[in-house]
Amino acid sequence: MRHIISILLENEAGALSRVAGLFSARGYNIETLTVAPTEDMSLSRLTIVTSGSDEIIEQITKQLNKLIDVIKVVDLSEAAHIERELMLIKVRATGKDREEMKRMADIFRGRIIDVTEATYVIELTGSGSKLDSFIHAIDTDLILETVRTGVSGIGRGDRVLKV
């Protein structure tokens, strides 16, 4: 099962490597990992997408909580939540492909943010699977480069992760 785990941790040197090191040391898998400071600069918010049985996810949560730099851990996917990921994708846009790319970007509510004679850079946000769908929907030979931020997530409604 895929899980999105959100972590509040001290924004200190080495804190991220403690989290990443825990995953590799215990053989847990990381699909994506994003991290940035919050409105309180002493705190970082980290989102990890991982997968595993209920037992493994329970252990991941407990082991994360054990790290001294970790303040709070929540499994976002346990309840209603929103997930978003940003992708920048550079595609070849020449001849008939140029119009096609524009159309695909529109359909997926993407924005073209850089234009040259032969290329576009398209900015796209959505769930991970929406970004996957876009990649599948266009001709892969036309993809020059992709960069994805990994998933960020937040609970819906009153679910708040705060110190």
Partner: protein
């Protein structure tokens, strides 16, 4: 407030923490600190011969006293040599503060002389670690280190201090206490869960108590003994938990696990309610978790670390809390309870297992190692601090020395580090100057930290080394005998030293023992005639003696091999 250098601050912090002994080894990056050590006499420094031994000795100091052990090493190789000691302490949850020197902050990352990423290297084997980058953070960081090491589930904490920080000056103020918003260990157990546990226990027909190192770390032996006796239940202590309950008591079934007794393993396997306290269902204790899970039993698990619960086996009643506090509450509930189930049928079953007398061994012409431990127990009145290395001798010591009290048995249970025995004896001897300290070791293990004979000489420590010398790496040889058709690959020690001469070369007393009838006189000579000397007893034991019972790796607890069964 006066201005102090970082080096002065380090020493002042140790004084504030009432540290008597620091085990360490000097070097370039810690020169300023060693200079400050020199100028005072409150904190005594014990110079070892290898940094690994410094950490082991600090670890044993802690194991035998419950206080935080302190070690000090220099940067680079000093720190990497300390890693085995740190990992050993981490696996057994021993509170340590290790202060390591580091190259000056401006050199970090430049591949400077004796530079290594100490924080990076030790990260997976510490409870926490710090790199101090500003002298103004130094005192509070050391305070945090002691606090983190000794609270919750204890563990080692490394404080890496660059050399320029030890020279920089600031005002010194030692905080009375520290708080970390991200670290609040649970102490009190959930009372609803404790009530539920007591109901289960009182309703059990075949109850069993199984406890580990957590009881010792929590200083809860008294509570455990009281609870067990009030309940009248059978009890087993793991390798790490020996001494938490009196080993000579009738309710005690011996150690469980790979080399556990028939009665302990069968009771673990066949009970209907298992009370697990401060223990972690380790692979060497329960064997294969799938096999363990084939029996439907209710499990109550008391542990301070939530991640220990339901890690290897599913638990029915988890209780997160400090063992001592939880046991106190259990005792309170139990004292109010009159109605107890009759479990005499269960006891008769256990007595049948006990009647197999699985610890019996045949005496031969050669010295049986088990016999040596039995005699050691007699001569020391069962009350010495016994340290061991890792291997067959460790298991025999655990099986045949009946520990009645906690903090008498020091060994590397989790990491299984060969070489700890002698440095452990050194750490224990400093912490317990009035107690007999013996190191049970083997001809393989003792050579892994043999240089510490020199430390023992320097400080006049009257340690007794019981070297069960079978001229083999015995435990590996046993596995090769049992599982590799006696192909003794690299387990024969072709040119072991003359240990008697070696002991003498270091200035100690060495005695060789070859015959069974000489064992007792030699032990007496060591413990009585040479009471104040370090004595190295090189005891030539039966070469191919094996440790039994044995549960092979990956097997279940009920699949034991006994001594009288043909292999």
């Amino acid at each position: 407030m006066t201005m102090m250098t970082g080096a002065e601050i380090v020493i002042r912090c140790l004084q504030e923490e009432k540290v008597d002994y620091v085990f360490g080894y000097p070097g370039g990056s810690v020169l300023h600190i060693y200079d400050e050590l020199f100028k005072q006499d409150k904190v005594k420094h014990i110079l070892v011969r290898h940094e690994q031994a410094a950490v082991h000795a600090a670890d044993a100091f802690s194991r035998s006293t419950q206080r935080v052990g302190v070690a000090m090493v220099t940067s680079g190789p000093g720190a990497t040599n300390a890693v085995t000691g740190i990992a050993t302490a981490y696996m057994d949850s021993i509170p340590l503060v290790v202060i390591s020197g580091q190259v000056p902050t401006t050199y970090i990352g430049q591949d400077a002389f004796q530079e290594c990423d100490t924080v990076g290297i030790t990260r997976p084997c510490v409870k926490h670690n710090f790199l101090v980058k500003d002298v103004r953070d130094l005192a509070v960081t050391i305070k945090k280190a002691f606090y983190i090491a000794s609270t919750g589930r204890p563990g080692p904490v490394v404080v890496d201090v660059p050399k320029d920080i030890t020279a920089a000056k600031c005002k010194f103020e030692y905080p009375a206490e520290v708080k970390l918003r991200s670290y609040n260990p649970v102490i009190k157990g959930h009372s609803g869960q404790i009530k539920k546990a007591m109901q289960l226990l009182l309703g059990a027909k075949r109850p069993m108590i199984y406890t580990g190192g957590g009881v010792i770390l929590s200083n809860a032996s008294e509570q455990l003994t009281r609870l067990t006796r009030l309940l009248g239940f059978p009890i087993t202590n793991t390798l790490m938990g020996l001494g938490a309950y009196p080993g000579t008591d009738r309710l005690f079934l011996g150690m469980p696990g790979m080399h556990g007794t028939v009665e302990a393993n069968m009771a673990m396997q066949n009970c209907d309610v298992l009370l697990a306290i401060g223990t972690r269902f380790d692979d060497r204790v329960i064997g294969n978790p799938e096999n363990f899970a084939t029996v439907p039993r209710k499990i109550i698990h008391v542990d301070i670390d939530p991640s220990s619960i339901s890690k290897r086996v599913r638990v029915d009643v988890p209780i997160v809390g400090n063992v001592q506090d939880v046991l106190d509450e259990m005792i309170r509930l139990l004292e109010a309870e009159q109605d107890k189930k009759d479990i005499s049928d269960w006891w008769s079953e256990i007595e049948e297992w006990r009647a197999r007398q699985c610890m019996n061994y045949a005496m031969k012409d050669a010295i049986m190692p088990q016999y040596v431990i039995e005699k050691l127990w007699e001569i020391t009145g069962g009350d010495a601090i016994i340290t061991s290395d890792v291997g067959q001798h460790q298991m025999w010591a655990a099986q045949y020395y009946k520990f009645d009290k906690p903090r008498r048995w020091l060994n590397s249970g989790g990491l299984g580090t060969m070489g700890v025995g002698l440095p452990y004896a050194i750490g224990a001897a400093f912490a317990n100057p009035d107690r007999q300290v013996a190191c049970v070791t083997g001809d393989g293990s003792i050579q892994m930290c043999i240089q510490e004979l020199s430390t023992a000489k320097q400080f006049g420590l009257p340690i007794k080394i019981i070297n069960l010398n079978n001229r083999y790496l015995g435990m590996v040889r046993q596995w090769q005998e049992m599982f590799y058709s006696r192909r003794y690959s690299q387990t024969y020690m072709d040119s072991i030293p003359d240990f008697v001469k070696l002991a003498e070369a270091y200035g100690h007393v060495g005695i060789r023992v070859d015959k069974p009838e000489d064992v007792v006189p030699a032990l007496k000579k060591a413990f009585v005639d040479h009471k104040d000397d370090l004595v190295f007893l090189d005891i030539r034991t039966a070469r191919e003696a094996n440790v039994f019972p044995m549960v092979a790796a990956g097997k279940g607890l009920s699949e034991m091999v006994l001594a009288d069964e043909n292999l």
